[in-house]
Protein backbone atom coordinates (compact mmCIF):
# COMPACT_ATOMS: atom_id res chain seq x y z
CA UNK A 1 0.00 0.00 0.00
CA UNK A 2 1.63 3.28 -1.08
CA UNK A 3 1.95 6.09 1.50
CA UNK A 4 0.48 8.70 -0.83
CA UNK A 5 -1.79 7.73 -3.70
CA UNK A 6 -3.44 9.94 -6.33
CA UNK A 7 -6.20 8.34 -8.41
CA UNK A 8 -7.39 10.33 -11.44
CA UNK A 9 -6.91 13.61 -9.59
CA UNK A 10 -7.87 16.89 -11.23
CA UNK A 11 -7.84 20.28 -9.61
CA UNK A 12 -9.25 23.64 -10.66
CA UNK A 13 -8.82 26.90 -8.74
CA UNK A 14 -12.19 28.62 -8.30
CA UNK A 15 -11.19 31.81 -10.15
CA UNK A 16 -9.57 29.99 -13.09
CA UNK A 17 -11.10 28.40 -16.16
CA UNK A 18 -8.36 25.87 -16.89
CA UNK A 19 -7.48 22.86 -14.77
CA UNK A 20 -4.31 23.32 -12.71
CA UNK A 21 -3.87 19.54 -12.58
CA UNK A 22 -5.37 17.14 -15.02
CA UNK A 23 -6.13 13.47 -14.32
CA UNK A 24 -3.02 12.73 -12.30
CA UNK A 25 -2.20 9.20 -11.13
CA UNK A 26 0.72 8.84 -8.81
CA UNK A 27 1.90 6.78 -5.88
CA UNK A 28 4.67 7.44 -3.42
CA UNK A 29 5.97 4.70 -1.15
CA UNK A 30 6.93 5.12 2.48
CA UNK A 31 10.54 6.31 2.79
CA UNK A 32 10.83 7.31 -0.86
CA UNK A 33 12.61 10.50 -1.99
CA UNK A 34 10.75 11.90 -4.98
CA UNK A 35 11.39 15.20 -6.72
CA UNK A 36 8.92 17.13 -8.81
CA UNK A 37 10.08 19.49 -11.55
CA UNK A 38 8.39 21.67 -14.12
CA UNK A 39 8.20 25.32 -15.17
CA UNK A 40 6.18 27.96 -13.31
CA UNK A 41 2.46 27.18 -13.31
CA UNK A 42 3.00 23.58 -14.42
CA UNK A 43 1.11 22.44 -11.31
CA UNK A 44 4.03 21.55 -8.99
CA UNK A 45 2.78 23.49 -5.99
CA UNK A 46 -0.81 22.39 -6.53
CA UNK A 47 0.34 18.77 -6.55
CA UNK A 48 2.26 19.29 -3.30
CA UNK A 49 -0.64 21.00 -1.58
CA UNK A 50 -3.02 18.19 -2.48
CA UNK A 51 -0.71 15.84 -0.58
CA UNK A 52 -1.39 17.39 2.82
CA UNK A 53 -4.98 18.46 2.30
CA UNK A 54 -4.16 22.15 1.92
CA UNK A 55 -6.12 21.61 -1.29
CA UNK A 56 -8.84 19.04 -1.88
CA UNK A 57 -9.20 17.45 -5.35
CA UNK A 58 -11.92 18.75 -7.65
CA UNK A 59 -12.15 15.26 -9.12
CA UNK A 60 -10.55 11.98 -8.08
CA UNK A 61 -9.06 10.93 -4.76
CA UNK A 62 -5.92 11.55 -2.75
CA UNK A 63 -5.22 8.88 -0.13
CA UNK A 64 -2.53 9.57 2.48
CA UNK A 65 -1.62 6.64 4.73
CA UNK A 66 -5.09 5.13 4.08
CA UNK A 67 -6.83 8.45 4.84
CA UNK A 68 -8.98 10.04 2.11
CA UNK A 69 -8.42 13.82 2.07
CA UNK A 70 -11.98 14.38 0.82
CA UNK A 71 -13.24 13.41 4.28
CA UNK A 72 -12.99 16.58 6.42
CA UNK A 73 -12.40 14.46 9.54
CA UNK A 74 -9.13 13.34 7.97
CA UNK A 75 -7.69 16.80 7.37
CA UNK A 76 -5.93 17.18 10.74
CA UNK A 77 -4.64 13.56 10.82
CA UNK A 78 -3.29 14.01 7.27
CA UNK A 79 -1.48 17.23 8.16
CA UNK A 80 0.05 15.56 11.22
CA UNK A 81 1.53 12.96 8.90
CA UNK A 82 2.60 15.26 6.09
CA UNK A 83 4.42 18.51 6.87
CA UNK A 84 5.04 21.30 4.37
CA UNK A 85 8.01 23.65 3.92
CA UNK A 86 7.42 26.68 1.70
CA UNK A 87 9.71 28.71 -0.52
CA UNK A 88 9.98 31.67 1.81
CA UNK A 89 10.59 30.77 5.49
CA UNK A 90 9.58 34.31 6.50
CA UNK A 91 6.03 33.40 5.51
CA UNK A 92 5.79 30.65 8.07
CA UNK A 93 7.80 32.00 11.00
CA UNK A 94 5.47 33.47 13.64
CA UNK A 95 7.22 33.47 17.04
CA UNK A 96 9.74 35.82 18.65
CA UNK A 97 12.44 33.25 19.48
CA UNK A 98 13.73 30.14 17.77
CA UNK A 99 12.59 27.95 20.66
CA UNK A 100 9.04 29.34 20.68
CA UNK A 101 8.84 28.94 16.93
CA UNK A 102 9.64 25.23 17.19
CA UNK A 103 7.24 24.88 20.14
CA UNK A 104 4.31 26.34 18.22
CA UNK A 105 3.33 23.15 16.42
CA UNK A 106 3.60 20.63 19.28
CA UNK A 107 1.84 23.07 21.65
CA UNK A 108 -1.23 22.59 19.49
CA UNK A 109 -1.07 18.81 19.74
CA UNK A 110 -2.24 18.58 23.38
CA UNK A 111 0.92 16.86 24.62
CA UNK A 112 2.68 17.43 27.98
CA UNK A 113 5.22 20.22 28.33
CA UNK A 114 7.95 17.68 29.06
CA UNK A 115 7.22 16.02 25.77
CA UNK A 116 7.16 19.38 24.01
CA UNK A 117 10.56 20.23 25.48
CA UNK A 118 11.92 16.88 24.39
CA UNK A 119 10.68 17.40 20.83
CA UNK A 120 12.15 20.92 20.68
CA UNK A 121 15.55 19.67 21.87
CA UNK A 122 15.53 16.93 19.28
CA UNK A 123 14.36 19.14 16.41
CA UNK A 124 16.95 21.83 17.19
CA UNK A 125 19.68 19.24 17.44
CA UNK A 126 18.73 17.60 14.15
CA UNK A 127 18.82 20.96 12.36
CA UNK A 128 21.95 22.19 14.16
CA UNK A 129 20.16 25.19 15.65
CA UNK A 130 20.63 24.38 19.36
CA UNK A 131 23.03 27.31 19.77
CA UNK A 132 20.43 29.72 18.41
CA UNK A 133 17.68 28.57 20.78
CA UNK A 134 17.03 32.02 22.26
CA UNK A 135 17.74 34.03 19.11
CA UNK A 136 15.01 36.10 17.49
CA UNK A 137 14.39 34.42 14.10
CA UNK A 138 14.96 37.64 12.12
CA UNK A 139 18.64 37.60 13.09
CA UNK A 140 19.17 34.24 11.41
CA UNK A 141 20.52 33.94 7.87
CA UNK A 142 18.22 32.82 5.05
CA UNK A 143 19.51 29.25 5.24
CA UNK A 144 19.15 29.14 9.03
CA UNK A 145 15.57 30.43 8.74
CA UNK A 146 14.78 27.61 6.35
CA UNK A 147 16.38 25.16 8.84
CA UNK A 148 14.17 26.68 11.54
CA UNK A 149 11.11 26.08 9.38
CA UNK A 150 12.26 22.47 9.02
CA UNK A 151 12.80 22.17 12.81
CA UNK A 152 9.25 23.42 13.42
CA UNK A 153 7.89 20.74 11.14
CA UNK A 154 10.12 18.03 12.65
CA UNK A 155 8.74 18.86 16.10
CA UNK A 156 5.35 17.71 14.81
CA UNK A 157 6.98 14.33 14.07
CA UNK A 158 5.54 13.88 10.59
CA UNK A 159 6.19 10.81 8.44
CA UNK A 160 6.59 12.82 5.28
CA UNK A 161 7.76 16.35 4.44
CA UNK A 162 6.95 18.25 1.27
CA UNK A 163 9.51 20.88 0.32
CA UNK A 164 8.12 23.47 -2.08
CA UNK A 165 11.15 25.12 -3.71
CA UNK A 166 12.90 25.44 -0.35
CA UNK A 167 16.16 26.75 -1.82
CA UNK A 168 15.09 29.12 -4.55
CA UNK A 169 15.59 32.21 -2.38
CA UNK A 170 18.93 31.08 -0.97
CA UNK A 171 22.49 31.72 -2.08
CA UNK A 172 24.67 28.76 -3.11
CA UNK A 173 26.22 28.09 0.30
CA UNK A 174 22.90 28.29 2.17
CA UNK A 175 21.33 26.13 -0.53
CA UNK A 176 23.87 23.44 0.17
CA UNK A 177 23.15 23.54 3.92
CA UNK A 178 19.44 23.00 3.29
CA UNK A 179 19.78 20.29 0.63
CA UNK A 180 22.28 18.38 2.81
CA UNK A 181 19.75 18.45 5.64
CA UNK A 182 17.01 17.15 3.37
CA UNK A 183 19.28 14.33 2.25
CA UNK A 184 20.01 13.46 5.90
CA UNK A 185 16.29 13.37 6.72
CA UNK A 186 15.74 11.05 3.81
CA UNK A 187 18.46 8.75 5.13
CA UNK A 188 16.57 8.44 8.43
CA UNK A 189 13.61 6.97 6.54
CA UNK A 190 11.47 10.11 6.20
CA UNK A 191 9.35 10.23 3.04
CA UNK A 192 10.44 13.30 1.08
CA UNK A 193 8.70 15.12 -1.75
CA UNK A 194 10.99 17.79 -3.17
CA UNK A 195 9.55 20.40 -5.52
CA UNK A 196 12.20 22.37 -7.39
CA UNK A 197 13.00 23.96 -10.70
CA UNK A 198 16.70 23.37 -10.40
CA UNK A 199 17.74 20.34 -12.41
CA UNK A 200 20.91 19.82 -10.37
CA UNK A 201 18.89 19.42 -7.17
CA UNK A 202 16.81 16.67 -8.74
CA UNK A 203 19.88 14.45 -8.43
CA UNK A 204 19.29 14.19 -4.67
CA UNK A 205 16.23 12.05 -5.25
CA UNK A 206 15.67 8.51 -6.50
CA UNK A 207 12.75 9.31 -8.76
CA UNK A 208 11.72 12.45 -10.58
CA UNK A 209 8.27 13.43 -11.80
CA UNK A 210 8.10 16.01 -14.57
CA UNK A 211 4.98 18.17 -14.83
CA UNK A 212 3.89 20.23 -17.79
CA UNK A 213 0.63 22.17 -18.04
CA UNK A 214 -0.94 20.17 -15.21
CA UNK A 215 0.01 16.74 -16.57
CA UNK A 216 2.66 14.25 -15.54
CA UNK A 217 4.69 13.99 -18.74
CA UNK A 218 7.55 11.91 -17.48
CA UNK A 219 8.63 9.76 -14.54
CA UNK A 220 12.17 8.47 -14.40
CA UNK A 221 15.45 8.25 -12.54
CA UNK A 222 16.99 11.74 -12.25
CA UNK A 223 20.04 10.72 -14.26
CA UNK A 224 17.82 9.99 -17.28
CA UNK A 225 16.89 13.68 -17.46
CA UNK A 226 20.53 14.63 -17.79
CA UNK A 227 21.13 12.29 -20.67
CA UNK A 228 18.23 13.66 -22.73
CA UNK A 229 18.94 16.00 -25.60
CA UNK A 230 18.34 19.73 -25.32
CA UNK A 231 15.37 19.73 -27.65
CA UNK A 232 13.45 17.15 -25.61
CA UNK A 233 14.26 18.95 -22.37
CA UNK A 234 13.07 22.21 -23.87
CA UNK A 235 9.83 20.56 -24.86
CA UNK A 236 9.34 19.53 -21.23
CA UNK A 237 9.91 23.19 -20.29
CA UNK A 238 13.02 22.20 -18.39
CA UNK A 239 16.10 24.33 -18.60
CA UNK A 240 19.26 22.25 -19.03
CA UNK A 241 22.21 23.25 -16.79
CA UNK A 242 25.35 24.38 -18.65
CA UNK A 243 27.05 21.01 -18.14
CA UNK A 244 24.17 19.21 -19.87
CA UNK A 245 24.42 21.64 -22.79
CA UNK A 246 28.15 21.01 -23.04
CA UNK A 247 27.78 17.22 -22.83
CA UNK A 248 25.08 17.37 -25.51
CA UNK A 249 27.38 19.31 -27.85
CA UNK A 250 30.25 16.92 -27.20
CA UNK A 251 27.99 14.00 -28.13
CA UNK A 252 27.00 15.77 -31.34
CA UNK A 253 30.70 15.92 -32.11
CA UNK A 254 31.08 12.20 -31.73
CA UNK A 255 32.31 11.99 -28.15
CA UNK A 256 29.99 9.53 -26.47
CA UNK A 257 29.96 10.82 -22.91
CA UNK A 258 28.31 8.15 -20.72
CA UNK A 259 25.09 9.13 -19.01
CA UNK A 260 26.48 8.63 -15.48
CA UNK A 261 28.57 11.76 -15.92
CA UNK A 262 26.89 14.72 -14.30
CA UNK A 263 29.58 16.78 -12.59
CA UNK A 264 32.35 18.98 -13.98
CA UNK A 265 34.99 16.84 -12.32
CA UNK A 266 33.61 13.57 -13.70
CA UNK A 267 33.41 15.07 -17.17
CA UNK A 268 37.02 16.26 -17.15
CA UNK A 269 38.20 12.90 -15.74
CA UNK A 270 36.33 11.15 -18.54
CA UNK A 271 37.86 13.40 -21.21
CA UNK A 272 41.34 12.77 -19.79
CA UNK A 273 41.09 8.99 -20.03
CA UNK A 274 39.83 9.03 -23.64
Amino acid sequence: MPFIEFSDVSFKYPEETDLALCNVNLSIEKGEFVSIVGANSSGKTTLGRLMNALLIPTNGKVIVDTLDTLDTNNIIPVRKRVGMIFQNPDNQIVATTVEEEVAFGPENLCISSDQIKERIDKALETTGLTYYRNYPPHLLSGGQKQLLAIASILAMEPQCIIFDEPTSLLDPSNRKVVTNKIKELSNTGMTIVFITHRMDEVLLSKRVIVLKDGNIVMECEPIELFSMNIKDLTELNLYPPEIVQIINSLRENGISVPKEIISSKDLVDYLCQL
Partner: protein, 292 residues
Protein backbone atom coordinates in the same frame (compact mmCIF):
# COMPACT_ATOMS: atom_id res chain seq x y z
CA UNK B 1 32.24 59.51 -14.32
CA UNK B 2 28.49 59.03 -13.80
CA UNK B 3 28.27 57.16 -10.49
CA UNK B 4 31.30 57.21 -8.27
CA UNK B 5 31.48 55.61 -4.85
CA UNK B 6 34.63 56.50 -2.96
CA UNK B 7 35.83 55.02 0.35
CA UNK B 8 32.30 54.31 1.52
CA UNK B 9 31.87 52.78 4.96
CA UNK B 10 28.53 51.98 6.56
CA UNK B 11 27.73 50.51 9.96
CA UNK B 12 24.22 49.30 10.85
CA UNK B 13 23.07 50.21 14.39
CA UNK B 14 26.28 52.08 15.04
CA UNK B 15 26.99 52.31 18.77
CA UNK B 16 24.54 49.54 19.67
CA UNK B 17 25.18 45.98 20.73
CA UNK B 18 24.12 44.55 17.33
CA UNK B 19 26.30 47.04 15.40
CA UNK B 20 27.51 45.54 12.14
CA UNK B 21 29.93 46.96 9.61
CA UNK B 22 28.18 46.30 6.31
CA UNK B 23 30.50 48.28 4.05
CA UNK B 24 34.17 48.84 4.68
CA UNK B 25 35.94 51.42 2.56
CA UNK B 26 34.22 50.47 -0.70
CA UNK B 27 35.07 52.26 -3.95
CA UNK B 28 33.32 51.52 -7.24
CA UNK B 29 32.40 53.40 -10.38
CA UNK B 30 29.62 52.86 -12.87
CA UNK B 31 30.19 54.18 -16.38
CA UNK B 32 27.39 55.39 -18.60
CA UNK B 33 25.81 52.70 -20.77
CA UNK B 34 27.41 49.63 -19.22
CA UNK B 35 26.02 46.60 -17.41
CA UNK B 36 27.82 46.07 -14.14
CA UNK B 37 27.37 43.03 -11.91
CA UNK B 38 27.76 43.06 -8.15
CA UNK B 39 28.15 39.62 -6.64
CA UNK B 40 28.86 38.21 -3.22
CA UNK B 41 27.20 35.84 -0.80
CA UNK B 42 24.45 36.75 1.63
CA UNK B 43 25.62 39.39 4.10
CA UNK B 44 28.49 40.62 1.91
CA UNK B 45 27.00 44.12 1.69
CA UNK B 46 25.54 44.06 -1.84
CA UNK B 47 22.11 45.40 -0.95
CA UNK B 48 23.51 47.98 1.46
CA UNK B 49 25.78 49.25 -1.29
CA UNK B 50 23.06 49.70 -3.91
CA UNK B 51 20.77 51.43 -1.44
CA UNK B 52 23.44 54.12 -1.21
CA UNK B 53 23.37 54.75 -4.95
CA UNK B 54 20.10 56.68 -4.84
CA UNK B 55 20.41 58.07 -1.34
CA UNK B 56 18.01 55.64 0.35
CA UNK B 57 20.84 55.27 2.82
CA UNK B 58 22.78 58.50 3.19
CA UNK B 59 26.54 58.22 3.48
CA UNK B 60 28.14 59.84 6.52
CA UNK B 61 31.05 61.45 4.76
CA UNK B 62 30.74 64.00 1.97
CA UNK B 63 31.86 63.00 -1.52
CA UNK B 64 31.53 59.28 -0.89
CA UNK B 65 28.64 58.83 -3.36
CA UNK B 66 28.54 61.08 -6.41
CA UNK B 67 25.89 60.79 -9.14
CA UNK B 68 26.56 62.74 -12.33
CA UNK B 69 28.83 65.06 -10.43
CA UNK B 70 26.36 65.67 -7.61
CA UNK B 71 27.29 64.68 -4.06
CA UNK B 72 24.21 63.02 -2.57
CA UNK B 73 25.40 63.94 0.90
CA UNK B 74 25.20 67.65 0.16
CA UNK B 75 22.27 69.31 1.99
CA UNK B 76 21.47 71.26 -1.19
CA UNK B 77 21.10 68.11 -3.30
CA UNK B 78 17.57 67.41 -4.54
CA UNK B 79 17.21 63.73 -3.63
CA UNK B 80 13.93 63.46 -5.54
CA UNK B 81 15.85 64.23 -8.72
CA UNK B 82 18.53 61.68 -7.86
CA UNK B 83 15.93 58.99 -7.23
CA UNK B 84 14.27 59.67 -10.54
CA UNK B 85 17.64 59.36 -12.22
CA UNK B 86 18.72 56.26 -10.31
CA UNK B 87 15.86 53.75 -10.34
CA UNK B 88 16.14 51.03 -7.75
CA UNK B 89 14.29 47.73 -8.08
CA UNK B 90 14.35 46.00 -4.69
CA UNK B 91 14.58 42.30 -3.94
CA UNK B 92 11.17 40.70 -4.48
CA UNK B 93 9.72 43.97 -5.80
CA UNK B 94 6.36 42.26 -6.33
CA UNK B 95 5.87 42.50 -2.57
CA UNK B 96 5.43 46.24 -2.94
CA UNK B 97 2.71 46.11 -5.60
CA UNK B 98 -0.44 47.71 -4.21
CA UNK B 99 -2.64 49.22 -6.95
CA UNK B 100 -5.92 47.82 -8.29
CA UNK B 101 -4.82 47.59 -11.90
CA UNK B 102 -1.57 47.09 -13.75
CA UNK B 103 -1.94 50.48 -15.45
CA UNK B 104 -2.36 52.35 -12.15
CA UNK B 105 0.51 50.40 -10.63
CA UNK B 106 2.99 51.34 -13.34
CA UNK B 107 1.65 54.93 -13.50
CA UNK B 108 2.17 55.51 -9.78
CA UNK B 109 5.77 56.70 -10.09
CA UNK B 110 5.39 59.06 -13.06
CA UNK B 111 2.18 60.52 -11.54
CA UNK B 112 4.33 61.92 -8.77
CA UNK B 113 6.55 63.66 -11.28
CA UNK B 114 3.84 66.16 -12.22
CA UNK B 115 3.68 65.27 -15.93
CA UNK B 116 0.61 65.25 -18.20
CA UNK B 117 -1.82 62.30 -18.32
CA UNK B 118 -1.03 61.60 -21.98
CA UNK B 119 2.67 61.48 -21.20
CA UNK B 120 2.00 59.16 -18.27
CA UNK B 121 -0.03 56.77 -20.39
CA UNK B 122 2.66 56.75 -23.05
CA UNK B 123 5.31 55.96 -20.46
CA UNK B 124 3.22 53.14 -18.98
CA UNK B 125 2.78 51.62 -22.42
CA UNK B 126 6.47 51.91 -23.19
CA UNK B 127 7.53 50.50 -19.83
CA UNK B 128 5.24 47.47 -20.15
CA UNK B 129 6.50 46.90 -23.67
CA UNK B 130 10.09 46.88 -22.40
CA UNK B 131 9.24 43.96 -20.12
CA UNK B 132 7.34 42.14 -22.92
CA UNK B 133 3.84 42.73 -21.53
CA UNK B 134 1.07 43.88 -23.85
CA UNK B 135 -0.53 47.11 -22.58
CA UNK B 136 -4.07 46.38 -23.78
CA UNK B 137 -4.02 42.85 -22.47
CA UNK B 138 -2.72 43.69 -19.02
CA UNK B 139 -3.74 47.26 -18.22
CA UNK B 140 -7.04 46.48 -16.45
CA UNK B 141 -5.92 43.32 -14.69
CA UNK B 142 -5.15 43.18 -10.98
CA UNK B 143 -1.41 42.85 -10.41
CA UNK B 144 -2.17 40.43 -7.57
CA UNK B 145 -3.72 37.81 -9.83
CA UNK B 146 -0.71 37.54 -12.14
CA UNK B 147 2.01 34.89 -12.07
CA UNK B 148 5.29 35.43 -10.20
CA UNK B 149 7.19 36.33 -13.37
CA UNK B 150 4.50 38.77 -14.52
CA UNK B 151 4.40 40.45 -11.10
CA UNK B 152 8.16 40.85 -11.15
CA UNK B 153 7.93 42.46 -14.60
CA UNK B 154 5.16 44.85 -13.49
CA UNK B 155 7.35 45.96 -10.59
CA UNK B 156 10.30 46.55 -12.93
CA UNK B 157 8.02 48.44 -15.36
CA UNK B 158 6.96 50.70 -12.48
CA UNK B 159 10.56 51.84 -12.17
CA UNK B 160 11.15 52.03 -15.96
CA UNK B 161 8.17 54.39 -16.26
CA UNK B 162 10.21 56.89 -14.26
CA UNK B 163 12.69 56.87 -17.16
CA UNK B 164 15.74 56.36 -14.99
CA UNK B 165 19.15 56.94 -16.48
CA UNK B 166 20.54 54.23 -14.21
CA UNK B 167 18.59 51.08 -13.43
CA UNK B 168 19.72 49.20 -10.35
CA UNK B 169 18.23 45.75 -9.74
CA UNK B 170 18.74 43.80 -6.53
CA UNK B 171 18.47 40.07 -7.32
CA UNK B 172 16.04 40.63 -10.21
CA UNK B 173 15.56 36.94 -10.98
CA UNK B 174 15.63 35.34 -7.51
CA UNK B 175 12.89 32.77 -7.03
CA UNK B 176 11.85 32.70 -10.70
CA UNK B 177 11.96 29.63 -12.90
CA UNK B 178 14.89 29.31 -15.33
CA UNK B 179 12.92 30.25 -18.45
CA UNK B 180 11.39 33.39 -16.96
CA UNK B 181 14.84 34.22 -15.65
CA UNK B 182 16.34 34.07 -19.12
CA UNK B 183 13.53 36.15 -20.60
CA UNK B 184 13.97 38.86 -17.98
CA UNK B 185 17.73 38.92 -18.59
CA UNK B 186 17.09 39.33 -22.32
CA UNK B 187 14.72 42.20 -21.60
CA UNK B 188 17.34 43.85 -19.41
CA UNK B 189 19.90 43.46 -22.19
CA UNK B 190 17.60 45.22 -24.66
CA UNK B 191 16.81 47.98 -22.13
CA UNK B 192 20.55 48.46 -21.85
CA UNK B 193 20.88 48.57 -25.65
CA UNK B 194 18.56 51.60 -25.55
CA UNK B 195 21.25 53.34 -23.46
CA UNK B 196 20.05 52.74 -19.90
CA UNK B 197 22.96 51.94 -17.60
CA UNK B 198 22.28 48.80 -15.56
CA UNK B 199 23.64 47.51 -12.27
CA UNK B 200 22.64 43.96 -11.33
CA UNK B 201 23.11 42.47 -7.90
CA UNK B 202 23.10 38.70 -7.90
CA UNK B 203 24.56 35.60 -6.35
CA UNK B 204 23.97 33.52 -9.45
CA UNK B 205 27.26 33.28 -11.31
CA UNK B 206 25.86 31.59 -14.39
CA UNK B 207 23.45 34.46 -14.76
CA UNK B 208 25.85 37.31 -14.12
CA UNK B 209 28.45 35.81 -16.44
CA UNK B 210 25.91 35.97 -19.28
CA UNK B 211 25.01 39.63 -18.96
CA UNK B 212 27.55 41.74 -17.05
CA UNK B 213 30.65 43.04 -18.80
CA UNK B 214 32.26 44.16 -15.59
CA UNK B 215 31.95 42.72 -12.09
CA UNK B 216 32.58 43.73 -8.52
CA UNK B 217 32.84 40.89 -6.02
CA UNK B 218 31.99 41.91 -2.45
CA UNK B 219 33.04 39.97 0.61
CA UNK B 220 32.55 41.07 4.21
CA UNK B 221 31.74 44.58 3.07
CA UNK B 222 34.90 45.00 0.98
CA UNK B 223 35.55 44.82 -2.76
CA UNK B 224 37.47 41.55 -2.97
CA UNK B 225 37.81 41.40 -6.76
CA UNK B 226 36.89 43.58 -9.69
CA UNK B 227 37.40 43.72 -13.42
CA UNK B 228 35.91 42.35 -16.63
CA UNK B 229 33.81 39.22 -16.15
CA UNK B 230 36.45 37.23 -18.03
CA UNK B 231 39.11 38.41 -15.60
CA UNK B 232 37.00 37.89 -12.48
CA UNK B 233 36.04 34.33 -13.37
CA UNK B 234 39.64 33.51 -14.27
CA UNK B 235 40.50 34.08 -10.59
CA UNK B 236 39.39 30.52 -9.87
CA UNK B 237 41.06 30.00 -6.50
CA UNK B 238 40.16 33.41 -5.16
CA UNK B 239 36.47 32.93 -6.03
CA UNK B 240 36.42 29.54 -4.34
CA UNK B 241 38.17 31.01 -1.31
CA UNK B 242 35.41 33.63 -1.08
CA UNK B 243 32.87 30.82 -0.86
CA UNK B 244 31.32 31.63 -4.25
CA UNK B 245 30.62 29.17 -7.00
CA UNK B 246 31.87 29.58 -10.55
CA UNK B 247 29.85 29.30 -13.73
CA UNK B 248 29.81 25.57 -14.57
CA UNK B 249 31.40 26.37 -17.91
CA UNK B 250 34.40 28.02 -16.21
CA UNK B 251 34.79 25.12 -13.82
CA UNK B 252 34.98 22.57 -16.63
CA UNK B 253 37.43 24.61 -18.71
CA UNK B 254 39.59 25.38 -15.69
CA UNK B 255 39.83 21.73 -14.66
CA UNK B 256 40.59 20.77 -18.24
CA UNK B 257 43.30 23.39 -18.42
CA UNK B 258 44.94 22.07 -15.27
CA UNK B 259 45.15 18.62 -16.93
CA UNK B 260 45.83 19.53 -20.58
CA UNK B 261 47.16 23.11 -20.48
CA UNK B 262 46.57 25.74 -23.16
CA UNK B 263 42.82 25.90 -22.57
CA UNK B 264 41.26 29.36 -22.50
CA UNK B 265 39.15 29.05 -19.38
CA UNK B 266 37.83 32.60 -19.56
CA UNK B 267 35.43 31.63 -22.36
CA UNK B 268 31.83 32.07 -21.18
CA UNK B 269 29.92 31.20 -24.33
CA UNK B 270 28.76 27.56 -24.51
CA UNK B 271 29.55 26.83 -28.15
CA UNK B 272 32.96 28.53 -27.92
CA UNK B 273 33.67 26.58 -24.74
CA UNK B 274 32.82 23.31 -26.47
CA UNK B 275 35.18 24.35 -29.22
CA UNK B 276 37.94 24.94 -26.64
CA UNK B 277 37.35 21.43 -25.27
CA UNK B 278 37.43 19.85 -28.73
CA UNK B 279 40.62 21.71 -29.67
CA UNK B 280 42.30 20.54 -26.46
CA UNK B 281 41.26 16.93 -27.16
CA UNK B 282 42.49 17.34 -30.72
CA UNK B 283 45.90 18.55 -29.60
CA UNK B 284 46.22 15.43 -27.45
CA UNK B 285 45.22 13.28 -30.39
CA UNK B 286 42.03 12.18 -28.62
CA UNK B 287 39.57 13.64 -31.10
CA UNK B 288 39.47 14.54 -34.80
CA UNK B 289 37.00 16.82 -36.51
CA UNK B 290 34.86 15.04 -39.08
CA UNK B 291 34.86 18.09 -41.32
CA UNK B 292 38.64 18.54 -41.47
Amino acid sequence: MPIVVKNLTFIYDEGFIFAKKALDNVSINIEEGEIVGIIGHTGSGKSTLVQHLNGLIKPKNPNSVIVDGVDICDAKTNLKEIRQKVGLVFQYPEMQLFEETVEKEVAFGPKNLGISDEEIQMRVKEALEMVSLDFDKYKDRSPFLLSGGEKRRIAIAGILAMKPKYLILDEPTAGLDPWVRIEILKELQSINNKSTTIVIVSHDMDEISKIAKRIYVLSNGCVALNGTSKYVFSQFDKIKELGLSLPQITEILYLLNSKFGEVDYTELDISKAVNEILMALNRKGKWKSKIA
